[in-house]
Symmetry: C2
Subunit: 206 residues, 2 copies
């Protein structure tokens, strides 16, 4: 079902649809429509129908989408019907906040390792985690076949950490360090820098 | 200089350019080029030149950009040469992490108020903040002319909180609650949901 021909911009919207469907299911809805989804998401219903048609179409014209079915299909397309192991690099202020955020595990992303380079931090507990030395990350990531990592180190170390992760088989990086990473095309990077989001809004403030 | 005719997609890239320029300045560079910026950011140099040309062009062909000047111009365009007050709604796990993140104040966004509805939390300290009752938010936001707020409440309360904020004059919302908000066109919303970023990457993992 998944195909490499699907534009990335379409893929980027699927998690948003999935989140809305999970919300609708929580609210005990059983059926929805591209109109209802569009209204909730501020996306045109035509766009939603077009996006979903890339995957063969999940609903019949006029009868709407069965939420449980569409949700399950999207979870399979996005490969989030399974549980994923995630490594976290950096146990400073930002890394600690990330490690304590419960939203990851609730949605199938389990932080199984936290690494740091500081001898003061190594061996300490961070929530339910024990902080491990970053030197051991390459071996552990390979052994446990961990493909997803989050970077929460200072900007100047982020590129080096990314290269270590990639050499150890990581193919998806969520980067909290406020810097762009150079990675080969087979590696996917997403960025979380809330200040960038604030700065693009202040432009519009008068 | 700023004009409403600039596409939002261009505006969305300006903070990324600004961040790269600040990094270059930290590394003691004085001049850069669209090629160097493009290489750092994974954006074509043609795109960068085109984006910056919306604002009258900041460099001369062939001589590159003076970093200090371009940085200052971008800060003015984005209105981040000033300091902004920000209200934070929600002092749970997520709100606490947001309140403790130092990156906001370092880049001119000062959380000046933290509001919550829980009688257990009101009056308590959160880092350097004292948690205030959410009932007082409308009055305080109006009095202090706060235009920016961050929402870190459970999903089911986020829309109601957004409506209260908008009625009190807030025009830019950074929403950490995992739900889409319906807001009038004069209000800008940006979303932070790291799980969505992970989910759009797992699609590509094999």
């Amino acid at each position: 079902m998944a195909s490499n021909d699907i534009p990335d911009i379409v893929i980027s919207r699927l998690p948003v649809y999935l989140r809305a469907l999970e919300r609708l299911a929580q609210e005990d809805h059983e059926v929805t429509s591209s109109h209802e989804l569009g209204k909730r998401l501020g996306i045109s219903s035509a766009q939603i129908r077009k996006d979903l048609s890339h995957f063969g179409g999940f609903g019949k014209q006029g009868t709407g989408y069965k939420i449980a079915y569409l949700r399950e299909q999207l979870r399979q397309v996005l490969k989030v019907e399974r549980e994923w192991q995630v490594a976290l690099i950096g146990a400073g202020d930002l890394g600690s906040a990330v490690a304590r955020y419960r939203g990851f595990a609730e949605r199938g992303f389990h932080i199984t390792h936290v690494f740091d380079s500081s001898t003061e931090k190594i061996g300490r507990s961070l929530g339910t985690y024990r902080i491990q030395p970053i030197d051991q990350a390459p071996r552990i990531l390979v052994e446990e076949e961990i493909r997803i990592a989050m970077i929460a180190v200072p900007a100047e170390y982020a590129q080096g950490v990314a290269e270590m992760l990639i050499a150890a088989g990581v193919r998806a990086i969520l980067n909290y360090a406020p810097i762009n990473l150079n990675v080969p095309p087979e590696v996917h990077v997403q960025y979380i820098d809330p200040v960038l989001h604030l700065q693009r809004m202040t432009y519009y403030l008068t």
